[in-house]
């Protein structure tokens, strides 16, 4: 579609949006711009029409099955959106006095409690604005804890090779060196290797459990013991909490810090990339270090704690409260699910994943860990198919789009060659899973019979296969007017 810039005409505007013009003679000219920025010059209807039509070019949960592994693309209840957009919540300035935000703060307070309860943690801060920032907060607290005890020798964070890229990147941002440890054939951590790399230099371990391989790390108690005995702390990457929600608490596994991806487990929208929210929970000993603000109740009154209340805090991650509107959506979701609903999430997410895995296994696909239960996701490797037909996981994924399914996550985790990481989530019905299995079988058959068709997919979308190499070689990152 034409760019919005290419649709306008000089002097056109969405006139009803313009405030009356006013004088700014008092600002000296050298502060001012001499030419206006080149922005679209379009009418309100042009804008509405353009972005409405653009939106139709997206796959999304509201239109398609979206089994993107590690991302928990579940249904985003529309009630949560209505609630976050209530005028009372929407209009308040974050720095307005707490007395004017008691309704909002009461929701935050409840959400903290709910998350603490579900993770088995002592206290929660809602400040982090996504999973990666939750990781940052978590590792920064680990660091603060060691330093507060005068333990300056700890320079390493241990991370399994299957971990999400945010884990090592976060460790680096927190000034740590990353020690990567391998995964064994069963998808578990290699304990011997873990023992080998753990020592007085170990600040902690970052772990996702169930892991990004779609299996539950069974030796978790031993792992926790190894790290704790060495004086390190355990960080839980909660991206996969959906798999065990309401059933198993990270705190019970021995974790000291946890982050939760609300945009995954708590069904807040992914918004085409964000905003998310990544609250962190901690055990009692880490509570003083929690990022600010934290909401407390004092009698009937709610307020936000600040640096005076929490002098040991790692500090602030945003100028305000984090992603408030996302937190409200998660609160609403949590209240709708309630006690029995939480455990059901884990049950049905797991049921769906294991069903899909069983069906694909029966259909002849190579399951990465066939001898294991799937958690809420699992991996298919297309290595054999690629060897036989030349059709790669990427080709396969693109062809699935033609069948009306968003592709699973491809090429992650990197351990498994030509992998598809498939996460159906609990909100999809069996009918949809069956249709997906049928599409997988159909594409596999095409790969054998007419591989070119798969390699040149997609065929039915607004564009054909895009040239990524060209995009990276000559980056065209912004439209500029032709002069």
């Amino acid at each position: 579609m034409k760019l919005i810039f290419e649709q306008g005409a000089s002097g056109r505007s969405a006139n009803a949006q313009l405030p009356p013009d006013t004088n700014i003679d008092d600002i000296p000219a050298h502060y001012l711009r001499t030419t206006p920025p080149v922005l679209p010059e379009v009418s309100e209807m042009d804008t509405v029409r353009h972005y409405t039509r653009l939106s139709q070019q997206n796959f999304s949960i509201d239109t398609h099955f979206y089994p993107l592994g590690s991302c928990t693309m579940k249904y985003n209840p529309r009630a949560c959106n209505s609630i976050a957009l209530l005028p009372g919540f929407l209009a308040r300035h974050p720095f307005a006095p707490a007395t004017t935000g008691q309704g909002y703060l009461s929701c935050l307070y409840e959400l903290q409690d709910i998350l603490a309860e579900l993770t088995g943690m002592h206290a929660v801060s809602l400040a982090p604005m996504a999973g990666a920032q939750g990781e940052f907060a978590g590792v920064a607290m680990i660091r603060a804890w060691h330093l507060a005890r005068g333990d300056t020798a700890r320079t390493e964070i241990i991370i399994p090779d299957a971990a999400h890229g945010t884990n090592p990147a976060t460790a680096a941002m927190c000034g740590y060196t990353v020690r990567e440890i391998p995964t064994d054939k069963q998808g578990n951590i290699d304990l011997d290797e873990l023992r080998r790399v753990t020592g007085p230099q170990t600040a902690g371990l970052m772990l996702t459990n169930p892991s990004t391989l779609g299996v539950f790390e069974q030796q978790i108690t031993e792992i926790a013991a190894i790290i704790h005995q060495a004086g390190g702390l355990l960080y839980y990457d909660g991206a996969n909490l959906n798999a065990i929600l309401g059933r198993i608490k990270p705190g019970d596994m021995g974790f000291d810090v946890v982050h939760i991806n609300l945009h995954k487990t708590f069904a807040t929208p992914h918004g085409g990339g964000g905003p998310g929210a990544g609250p962190v929970g901690v055990s009692a000993r880490l509570q003083p270090f929690l990022p600010l603000p934290v909401t407390v109740r004092e009698g009937e009154h709610y307020r936000l704690l600040d640096e005076t209340d929490r002098p040991y805090s790692i500090g602030r991650l945003s100028a305000n409260h984090g992603n408030g509107g996302v937190l409200l959506r998660a609160w609403a979701y949590a209240r709708m699910l309630g006690e029995p609903g939480m455990a059901r999430v884990a049950q049905f997410a797991t049921l769906n994943a294991n069903y899909l895995m069983a069906r694909l296994d029966q259909a002849g696909f190579d399951i990465a860990f066939p001898q294991r239960r799937a958690s809420h996701e699992f991996i298919v490797s297309l290595k054999r198919l690629k060897d036989e037909t030349g059709v790669s996981a990427m080709d396969f994924a693109k062809r699935l789009l033609d069948y009306g399914f968003h592709a699973p996550t491809t090429y992650f985790p990197m351990l498994v060659p030509e992998c598809l990481l498939i996460e159906p989530t609990e909100t999809e019905a069996k009918t949809t899973l069956d249709a997906f299995v049928a599409a997988m079988i159909a594409v596999a058959q095409e790969a054998r019979e007419t591989p070119e068709k798969v390699k040149s997919a997609p065929h039915t979308l607004p564009v054909r296969r895009l040239d990524d190499v060209r995009a990276a070689r000559k980056p065209d990152l912004a439209w500029k007017p032709q002069i």
Binding site: P37, L90, P97, A132, P168
Partner: protein, 450 residues
Amino acid sequence: MPFIPHTESDIRDMLSAIGAKQIDDLFDEIPSSLHARQAPSLPPALNEMSVIRLAQERASRDPANLNFIGAGGYDHHIPAAIWQLATRGEFYSAYTPYQAEASQGSLQVIYEYQSMMTALTGLDASNASLYDGASALAEAILMAVRAHKTQRRILLPRTVSPLYRRVIATLVAAQGIELVDLPYDPHTGTTVLPAETAPFAALVIPQPNFFGQLEDVDTLTDWAHQQQAHVIALVNPTSLGILKPPGQWGIAGADIATGEGQPLGCPLSNGGPWFGFMTCRQEMIRQMPGRLVGRTLDTENNTGFTLTLQAREQHIRRAKATSNICSNQGLMVVAAALYLSLMGAEGLARVARACHANTQQLVRRLTAIAGVRRVFQGALFHEALLQLDRPVQPVLDALLTYNLVGGLDVSAHYPELGHTLLVCATETRTVDDIHHYAISLQAVLEKGMA
């Protein structure tokens, strides 16, 4: 079972395909010791009707006061079209456009947004958003340090928001970066250059600064460049409707521009979700944190859009990535693209001018009251620092009874300036609103409150 579509017969059929007796069997690999622990104790489930009623009751506890706080978040008009479109399911419930061909909607929006932000800031490339303005500034600092290679010192004026400075301290703490405060001129409230010239990686220049004052960006930029340092412009996007864009500061222009995107269509919403923006010069693109969308061609030579230069990012580069950021503030970018399309250059300039004029008028009205004076001289954008003759907080508390959130008490951040109040009047404040504030403040001060 809210949001779970399984029927009894679905469950039976699925278990039998798996070869399991009951759903619980699927958890049999999890050590039994972990199952044995105490189940979480949570409030009971509410249906949608009840949770909406509860939320409405709570939201109605949060009164709609007339707001005169800015300080990083601004009460702008948000065109009705924006959120009616941004919450369309196709935008709202999609994720990062990993499958480009199935995500041309999101991708083209981001590309257009990137184009708009480069136009606004006068720089070459924009990323697809960061979390918020404060964390974006921290990322800009890290980026400047990476780009500079030899120095890790950053000059950070005290005219940068105190809250931003706290966030930066948190986010760059572990990376051996030295943050050096720069003082401000007590008359103009603008940054004073240090006498010393020890080498540093970058100078941060806020425009307008936290006090609402306009910095002499040309001089500051040229000075920093003379010191072989980068210039990080911390800018308000509304102000760029009228103020000189960072790309044109001084002789060579700033190297990185960043700031809080909230004024471009995000509701105040208790502080979030908002978003951070970042643009930079062409040469620095590969140091940029966050996602980038590029325009490319498909196999039939049609134009299309895709995520690009991903080798900077954590999912490829892992510990060596330019940042750990993964999810960003995507939906806010949709809102910003809509906002900038609807406003255009003319609209944005008018908004900026109206904010300025309203704030000027507010300052005139308030400083006409005995015991209220403006702290600094010189040009301001849409905020001003006022000094009261008594502690600010009790005055603000009293104003609340007039349905007014009268500004931000910043006395604790700048004790040297006495009892200070930061006020802002955007284009949404009317003559009547400003009048209401003036007579209310007069009444409060006369009653000898506080």
